[in-house]
Symmetry: C2
Subunit: 418 residues, 2 copies
Amino acid sequence: MESKNNIKNFDKLLENYAKLAIEIGVNVQKDEDVLIKAPVEFPLFVQKLVKASYERGANEVFVEYKDENLLKLKYLNEKQNILNNVHDFEIEKLRYLYKERKVNVINVVGEDPDIFKDIDAKIIAQSNAKKSEKIKEFRKYTMNDIISWLVISIPTEKWAKKVFPNSKESVNDLWKEIFKTSRVDESYEKTKENWNKHIENLNKRADFLNSKKFKRLIYTSENGTNLHVNLPKNHIWLSAGSKNEKGNYFIPNIPTEEVFSAPDKFGVNGKLVATKPLVYNGVVINDFYFEFKDGKVINSFAKENNDTLNEMLNMDENSKYLGEIALVPYNSPISLSNILFFNTLFDENASCHFALGEAYPTCVENGANLNSEELEKIGLNTSVIHEDFMVGNKDLNITAINENNEEITIFKDGIWAF
Amino acid sequence: MESKNNIKNFDKLLENYAKLAIEIGVNVQKDEDVLIKAPVEFPLFVQKLVKASYERGANEVFVEYKDENLLKLKYLNEKQNILNNVHDFEIEKLRYLYKERKVNVINVVGEDPDIFKDIDAKIIAQSNAKKSEKIKEFRKYTMNDIISWLVISIPTEKWAKKVFPNSKESVNDLWKEIFKTSRVDESYEKTKENWNKHIENLNKRADFLNSKKFKRLIYTSENGTNLHVNLPKNHIWLSAGSKNEKGNYFIPNIPTEEVFSAPDKFGVNGKLVATKPLVYNGVVINDFYFEFKDGKVINSFAKENNDTLNEMLNMDENSKYLGEIALVPYNSPISLSNILFFNTLFDENASCHFALGEAYPTCVENGANLNSEELEKIGLNTSVIHEDFMVGNKDLNITAINENNEEITIFKDGIWAF
């Protein structure tokens, strides 16, 4: 993967992609630390991320190379009590980096969507649930935007092959899509300009929605989706970026196209039909729907990998409630590419979506200062999972109801109506 | 590197090489843990090591991917106090793995011999000295063979290019040499047989030397080497393998050709002229010699990278004393290949050598139970370094003196004389 590459000016694009991640993504400040978790497949990108971090004056950079083949071997061979365990030295590392150093966290993704398809879904689910429980105190650092965090991708061979099964240059093809959807230009100045303009556009949408203080959204589509979603009082629509505890603006997803908030966890009723597959724990869940009553999934089915879907829904007592509502027009650049990415980072930015599980507390006023009980009271869900699934399509209509019970169409035929 | 490979049955050879490391190298036992530190360049070998570990019933396998390009960026950009530091979570990990779990440690090497040639030698030396000091309590676990440990190699692109600068297939060329010198066959049964025979041969040499209880060796060569080395009372010549605390036999180096012991640190006098370059901290030190008086280096010079040599000699108060004496005939398979590997694991097994710094306490009777002061008293050196350097050549003669002052030639014209 590292050797040949026929993309014109690849090295420059890669460098700008890395600078985008460090300078605009997590927005590293002088004397801060950086933690990079990245697939082992492409060290060159990691080296460029590290270099860009030092250029911003980073104090110390930590890198954890991930090898999903080793994780698969773990699932196949280690006892469940070992799989469920988090070592003291791992917790101490999290404590030091998250609590003490308020580290910038970059998670580079590029998973093989089918990596765990032959593994018993229960084994993985139990391991994830137990481990999440043991490190849950650190989850708030990213969920509440205390620290800067970023999810960004590189094409690995197996992921690229899944996206472009008939191409002989699937990795290159995927690089091209990543650069394009991430608005990376050969000129770094132009890349920055692209992002400033993009952020401004997304913020305008969010500002409009915030000004309206809607109390409910109604989703309808010919595929069977028919859902009423209440929004919590004082909810906030967010987009693109957020400010960390120190007040520094960062962008947690590259690419990003969404305007999102949190639903009232008890105020969701009706049916939601997914329009794209969902990759969960290295398994592709496909052709599925949920039925909600007072916020809870009371019925669901997936034609493909229904058992994995069930494991996800049963991860904890709140994993059957929604935690995110996000609006993305059907004509977003990623959507227009007409490519199914089998990767949430891309597919969620091509489609209106929801997430099951934890809500971002920053989606209500003063939410970052509330504990789980207080969040629950105002309708914000807390859970060990946060799994996006896609519901957008070209005939999705969304009607919003304001405090005076006036109806305003905000999505018409899959795209923004205002 | 991972993609194309024209070596016949490469995958089978690689698998047998990994099994050799796990089953004969560290000799993993049921329910033990394994720690693998390996270059990021070739995850496939790591995956095979991990798989072989589970096949032996390993409890948990830990992998740390190493990226020397990131270490170089660290040296270039981080402040010295950061470079000198070892974090609490790193020490806790060592404590858990070494002390509590008595882990099997596999260090896969494949360094670019020139990686740090542009870095100030002082920066690296200070970082290594300070870090070694902070984790010195864990050094004894390998130096005293409390746990099983192994150094083994894979060809990385830059190392292979240094060894075979004119080859277009340098990585493949180096794989071939590694498989050959490591006695790896396409049949695993044959590989095991090769090693059993090899170990037996080396043990015979060691047994002979042990039976003679020599008190002194005298080295002479036309290149200027003329050295008297006293051996401590009750010294032991070791070869190939050793037993760990639990009594399990392991082989700490693959390949291995040496029969070695510890010199009396105060009983070394004369001149030693190196016959191969030494790669230290990513810098090639070449064309060098040492003059000893009562064990201590009192004069030295390297035509190439003398400053790095000086940093090595000044790492601590004992780094100017010898800690290992090793005999390897000039006709060893690695030597016969006539290849300069720029890697101690190979070059030391092609040549008689010594090491500056720490002695292996197991080289004297009951040594593993003695503390540094007690070891010092019987002439065994302790230091933060242990750096092998090569002195063998085709006219090296070694005469041994026994307790009755009889002279016995043990090396004649570079090879065993008995």
